[in-house]
């Protein structure tokens, strides 16, 4: 194929995905899709293999490929132009039930030539807890509606009986309808644009370009792997549920042009819904791999070929039915994301050529807090605190991480405006800001996470309730690199107002301790936010890079002045003394010398 045509087709495929994402956002009305960008759109070849991975949550790219393949197997001989299939069973391909895949066959002149697939986290899926994340679910049967594949649209016509059946099982059916219709619109746009591409260039020509594109990605990725050093890198992530600790262990081995991710030694599947299935783990390890190793390579099946995953059956990263998995995307899947990000960061750091592309782990403790209840307009609201998508950048080998800089598995993640949340829920923010000391210390500091406090406001029922789940707040998860510290852990605090008197006025400078009342840590379950109580949330910063006591003291001074690092940490961790807002160089040298000699007095490793 001539290189010009190949290039044009490749760019058209990119644009088709872009336009489909825009359509999805225009039709959807939910904050999680529009504000949090908890979405994904991609194109697949006729056999269901990944052709063009789009933006959004990248751990969906390979899982949606499996969704296409399983629809092909299930409906063989009965797949028609204008059909759209729904699949959300985690044991078939999906990550959890509330991330619904809609997959559409794309026909040209009567022949199946490709697929488009997309997902959004639907408003509700009818699980035991509102919003889809179900910390109280003991098994998959209590995690809501779940289908291994059903035809939602037949030949361009909505199957109303199927839609009504689904809507009959969810809270806020009108919002779930909007979610499903946004995905139908998205797939329709992808299909139309693919069909006109084929009409213009010919189906055979386009498919030839697609095959070449997949091979090109494989060749480029294998060539990159050959440039990187051979070796073995390890990582470990902890998850906490009410004091029960689970581990995800990873040994990544790189040999010539192959990469093996071995999760042997990870803990057995949990009674809690933090587990994930093998398709989810595969998606989880590719989420950081695509942007960190293939930032200039088209994300498709070719990138998958050099990679192997070992995930023991019955473990937390390859659970067996009917283990609950509704918290997977902020549970074991993200632990897989983090572990892979850490080992890939280490491998890049070991390379002469690629060392400046290594990064400590970004925002590792994605959490899920779903507010639900009657709103100030008398209707019902369910919605996630989108601050979880705001993230924090990991430090690089040459620069600090970006404050509240997003997250690796979703290059377009972001958070909603405070006003958007206050318009939809009967709550008020006391503050939302960068959290001091949350970024992992290092020669280059991890980007800070943030902190916020919410109180009920004009709530007809006196407040709302919320479902909280995730990996807990005991463990730091944004690992550092080369001596950098991890980002500080998350913190969730229920501040119970004193029996008498009003709460102390809160200013942005005050933070958690300026809110009067007794503090109770929460991390898993359903809780009220009523009366004059407050909910405080701090999310983790990114990991640091390098030894904190070689950080430029002037950078530490700037961090303290900006409220990103406390005076205590400046002294204790960075060994920097500040006097009247300036670096005291003599005192700093003495402090750092004393930290060094204290280190050498420690016992040697046995």
């Amino acid at each position: 194929m001539d290189p010009m045509t190949f290039s044009i087709i490749r760019h058209r495929l990119f644009r088709i995905v872009d336009e489909a994402v825009i359509t999805l956002k225009h039709v959807s009305g939910s904050a999680i899709t529009n504000e949090g960008h908890d979405l994904m759109v991609s194109l697949y070849r006729a056999d269901g293999t990944l052709l063009m991975g789009g933006v959004g949550f990248l751990h969906h790219l390979t899982s949606a490929a499996e969704a296409c393949k399983s629809i092909i197997r299930r409906f063989e001989g009965d797949i028609h132009e204008g059909d759209i299939f729904l699949l959300n069973d985690p044991y078939t391909a999906a990550l959890h039930t509330s991330d619904i895949y809609l997959v559409s066959p794309i026909h040209h002149e009567g022949r199946l030539v490709a697929w488009s697939a997309c997902f959004v986290h639907v408003y509700d899926i009818g699980a035991v807890n509102p919003g889809g994340f179900a910390p109280q679910a003991p098994d998959i049967y209590t995690e809501g509606f779940s289908s291994p594949g059903i035809r939602l649209v037949a030949g361009g016509e909505m199957r109303q009986d199927v839609l009504d059946t689904i809507l009959n099982m969810v809270r806020s059916p009108e919002m779930v309808t909007l979610d499903l219709r946004s995905m139908i619109a998205c797939n329709n746009v992808a299909r139309d644009r693919m069909q006109s591409l084929m009409t213009k260039y010919g189906a055979k020509e386009v498919d030839g370009a697609c095959a070449e594109l997949v091979n090109q990605s494989e060749d480029l990725f294998r060539a990159r792997l050959r440039e990187l050093p051979d070796g073995q890198w390890q990582s470990r992530q902890y998850l906490d549920v009410n004091g029960d600790t689970a581990r995800v262990n990873l040994t990544m081995t790189k040999k010539d042009d192959r990469l093996i991710f071995d999760f042997s030694g990870s803990d057995p599947q949990s009674p809690y819904s933090i587990n994930c299935t093998k398709w989810a783990s595969l998606g989880g390890l590719f989420a950081p791999l695509f942007p960190l190793l293939c930032y200039d390579i088209t994300w498709n099946e070719g990138v998958l070929r050099p990679v192997e995953m070992i995930a023991p059956e019955g473990s937390i990263v390859n659970c067996t039915r009917p283990a609950p998995v509704s918290v997977a995307t902020v549970g074991a899947i993200q632990s897989v994301n983090n572990a892979a990000c850490s080992t890939i960061g280490k491998m890049l750091g070991a390379s002469e050529k690629y060392r400046n592309q290594s990064t400590a782990v970004w925002h590792a403790n994605h959490f899920a807090i779903f507010k639900f209840g009657r709103n100030q307009k008398g209707g019902d609201s369910i919605g996630i605190l989108t601050e979880t998508f705001a993230g924090a950048g990991g430090a690089r080998s040459f620069a600090d991480g970006v404050e509240i800089g997003g997250e690796i598995p979703n290059p377009i993640s972001r958070m909603a405006n405070v006003e958007t949340v206050e318009a939809a829920f009967p709550v008020r923010y006391l503050f939302r800001r960068r959290a001091p000391d949350s970024g992992g210390p290092g020669e280059y500091r991890g980007g800070t996470g943030g902190e916020l406090a919410l109180v009920p406001h004009k709530a007809p029922d006196g407040g709302i309730n919320y479902v909280i789940s995730g990996k807990g707040s005991r463990h730091p998860m944004s690992e550092g690199l080369a001596g950098g510290y991890p980002g500080a852990p998350n913190s969730y605090v229920w501040v119970k107002a004193p029996e008498d008197g009003a709460n102390t006025p809160v200013t942005a400078a005050g933070g958690l301790d300026a809110i009067s009342g007794t503090q109770e840590r929460v991390s898993w379950g359903v809780y009220p936010l009523m009366g004059r109580d407050a909910l405080y949330v701090r999310w983790n910063g990114g990991g640091g890079h390098g030894d904190p006591i070689v950080r430029d003291p002037e950078a530490v001074r700037r961090d303290v002045a900006a409220g990103l690092v406390t005076l205590q940490s400046a002294g204790d961790i960075y060994g920097v003394a500040l006097r009247d807002g300036a670096v005291d160089e003599t005192e700093t040298m003495a402090k750092r010398k004393s930290i060094r000699s204290a280190r050498l007095q420690q016992e040697a490793s046995e």
């Binding site: 463990h475 080369a482 390098g546 940490s569």
Partner: protein, 94 residues
């Protein structure tokens, strides 16, 4: 391994040996866990410095690995007591 590879920004490789990038202290063959040759300190995370690390829970540890030669902090790990150290090694190139 190729002559230019290193293990990390803090641990270099010289003639097949892992060495401290700051002072050149020998940390054993690069194909073996270098942490066996480093000073290791394990402290509760809550005492690592700054209030943000204090989660109110014991048992969460921060491990430090120091260069015995110059006291540079070469690596950190979060851990629970008894969990093995994470080993990062380069393969010998045949």
């Amino acid at each position: 391994m190729s002559g230019q590879d290193r293990i990390s920004a803090s641990v270099a490789v010289k003639e097949g040996q892992a060495v401290c990038a700051a002072c050149g202290h020998d940390l054993g063959p690069a194909t073996k866990p270098w942490k066996d040759h480093a000073h290791r300190r394990e402290i509760p995370l809550a005492l690592a410095g700054g209030q943000a690390y204090d989660t109110g829970h014991e048992g969460v540890l921060l491990r430090h690995f120091y260069c015995p030669g110059c006291a540079a902090l070469l690596d950190t790990e979060t851990a629970m007591a008894g969990d093995p150290a994470l080993d990062d090694i380069l393969a010998a190139r045949g």
